[in-house]
């Protein structure tokens, strides 16, 4: 067993950290306060190759491994959650879905420009009336000749108003149970009948973009169907295995941000004649953050290692996501407590950390869904079955091959 990162991983960490600290940290408060999407930061992530970090070079990516993806997400969310959200939807939920399930032609057409950061990608599963309960999905896709006609609405979609490509799920067989009647489609923004908008009044992630997609008789060519008809549920679940991985890694970064801010402030702030760092109850909160950071990191790195090996990691990834998101919310709350009244104002970052932490306890499986998943695996009510297409194991030679 080897717990050390490779020199390559260490350089990736430093590079992504430098970017986030130099180009995002000085401005993030301004965007967050104004509820203004920080578009330039996304453009820079695209230019630097971060949005294609773990996609093979021949598909326009950078050819790094899945652990690098996790490490990048940790560094990004340490500065702000919106950066990691971009990675979750663009890389985790969409691009890796195309890598796993796409035909060679679909990879060339859609994955290459996405990995290069030329076209941004989003994931349309959730609906106004269907979140964790995928069976309640109302969007439909009707086959007509060589096309499908899509109707319905998707809600709480990150990058809805900015993405160029959407991976959308809709019912092709309304009578079949959800795991058989849902199909996945790659839909381009330019397609007639697509409208999108932003959701306002969010608690957190205010420098990001969250919105809705409405589909009104959207004609999608059959060649844009991802996977087989009726395979959408399995595709969605496998995409979530990757999206949740980025969330677990990111939330771990958020815990680290809370820990760093709290340790710094605890040394600076004095009460009762000494720095608050010397008070035991402050130390207790800091110790818990340290504990949770280390657990979160071990959990996501194990999930990343399993992905590198090509081993299914649904419960391990779910555990990493469940643990780190809940722990990040607790860490942010304690970070405010340590900062006292100052932490309650936006003069410090910790109030933003708390607002940003909550969303991830809800999306891509609420904490309650993840608790159920864990129990169901232990009790034997749920088990992994082989998929028609598995996420490919990381093979450095294969990933770095030019063509």
């Amino acid at each position: 067993m080897d717990f050390s990162l490779t020199p390559e991983h260490e350089m990736v960490v430093r590079m992504v950290r430098d970017f986030a600290e130099k180009e995002v940290a000085p401005y993030i408060k301004e965007y967050d306060r104004a509820h203004k999407p920080f578009v330039r930061a996304i453009e820079r992530m695209a230019e630097l190759g971060i949005m294609g970090i773990c996609i093979p070079v021949r598909y326009g990516g950078q050819g790094m491994d899945y652990i690098s993806l996790g490490l990048a997400c940790e560094e990004l969310e340490r500065v702000d959650t919106f950066l990691r959200v971009v990675m979750s939807v663009h890389v985790g939920l969409n691009s890796l879905g195309l890598l796993q399930w796409g035909t060679e032609e679909q990879k060339q057409r859609f994955l290459v420009p996405q990995a290069r950061g030329e076209r941004w990608a989003a994931f349309g599963l959730t609906e106004p009336g269907a979140g964790s309960d995928v069976a309640a999905m109302a969007a439909t896709a009707r086959r007509e000749g060589d096309s499908y006609i899509l109707n319905g609405e998707k809600m709480w979609i990150s990058l809805a108003s900015m993405a160029h490509n959407f991976l959308v799920f809709a019912r092709t067989d309304p009578k079949a149970p959800p795991h058989q009647g849902i199909t996945a489609f790659i839909v381009e923004r330019e397609t007639k009948g697509i409208t999108t908008g932003d959701i306002h009044g969010k608690l957190g992630v205010r420098a990001g973009s969250t919105g809705w997609i409405a589909m009104n008789d959207v004609e999608v060519p059959a060649e844009n169907r991802l996977g087989e008809e009726g395979e959408g549920f399995k595709i969605a679940m496998s995409c979530l295995d990757n999206g949740r991985y980025t969330i677990g890694a990111g939330a771990t970064g958020l815990i680290r941000a809370c820990l760093e801010a709290s340790a710094k402030y605890a040394h600076e702030r004095r009460t009762f004649g000494r720095p608050i760092a010397e008070h035991q109850l402050v130390q207790q909160m800091i110790a818990r953050m340290r504990r949770d950071y280390e657990i979160g990191r071990l959990l996501y790195l194990r999930a990343g290692w399993l992905k590198n090996q090509g081993i299914r990691n649904t419960w391990q990834t779910s555990l990493a996501k469940w643990f780190a998101t809940e722990a990040s919310f607790a860490a942010a709350s304690d970070a405010i407590q340590i900062h006292g009244a100052y932490g309650y104002s936006d003069e410090y970052d910790v109030e933003r950390f708390l607002r940003n932490a909550k969303g991830a306890c809800i999306y891509e499986g609420t904490s309650q869904i993840h608790e159920l998943i864990q129990a169901q695996y232990v009790l034997g009510y749920r088990q992994d079955r082989p998929l028609r297409c598995e996420l490919p194991a990381y093979d450095p030679e294969e990933w770095q091959r030019e063509a």
Partner: protein, 267 residues
Amino acid sequence: MHIVVCTKQTPDSAAKLTVDAAGNVSWGDSPIVINPWDEYAVEEALLIKERLGGNARVTVISMGPEAALEALKHAIAMGADEGIRIWDPIFEGSDTLATSYVLAKAIEKMGDVDLVLFGKSAIDSQTGQIPVEVAYRLGFSPLTYVIKIAELDPAGKTIIAERLLEQGRQVVKAPLPAVVGTIKGINEPRYPSFMGIRKATRAQYPVWSATDIGADPAKVGAAGSGVRWTRIFSPPTREGKAEIIQAETVEETVRILVDKLMAEKVI
């Protein structure tokens, strides 16, 4: 055109330096990184290379133990072609006089160098002496505090550089080969690319010893150094008071700031 960039490894700028009673300096477990000023020199070399197309190569050198690899790796990840570490146990304890001798001998060994680039200084020792010393030893044109390389003519063997001095900008023309000390503002250093990171972690970094560069042992290490350390201690902590000016508008904030600066006779 062959461009050499001299780099060194330093503790991260966020490191907390401590000095114990015996004068031993420590930066704890702070990571070792490329000297931040050197990133400007590497970037400038890469920009020149890009301008000249395929007619230039960039070699990065660093005198130092194993830890110096960090600086070389960073430069390769940014896009430099080759990294060479110059090290021999007898180099231990070198001051700037001895270090400049070693660097000059290594550059001399290469034989075909047209341009040597440096960062302004190293953030750990902050002497800024090495570029001029190396230029003197090699007989190259010394150009320090360079904010812009305005013209570079490899065929005519000339360089025109703008130096940022306290009195203003000075434009100078000098023959090549030259040693250029860059300063912040000359460019915006790029981040290492992912492809560069892979290249850097797989590259071979030859180590040149004192024998390899033909260095005289009497001129290196403590033996070749002119500086004698009488005492090493931490400077007293600077005490200061910070005041945050808050006003309704930016204009009002600026007005209050200017009033205060004038009252304090700062401006």
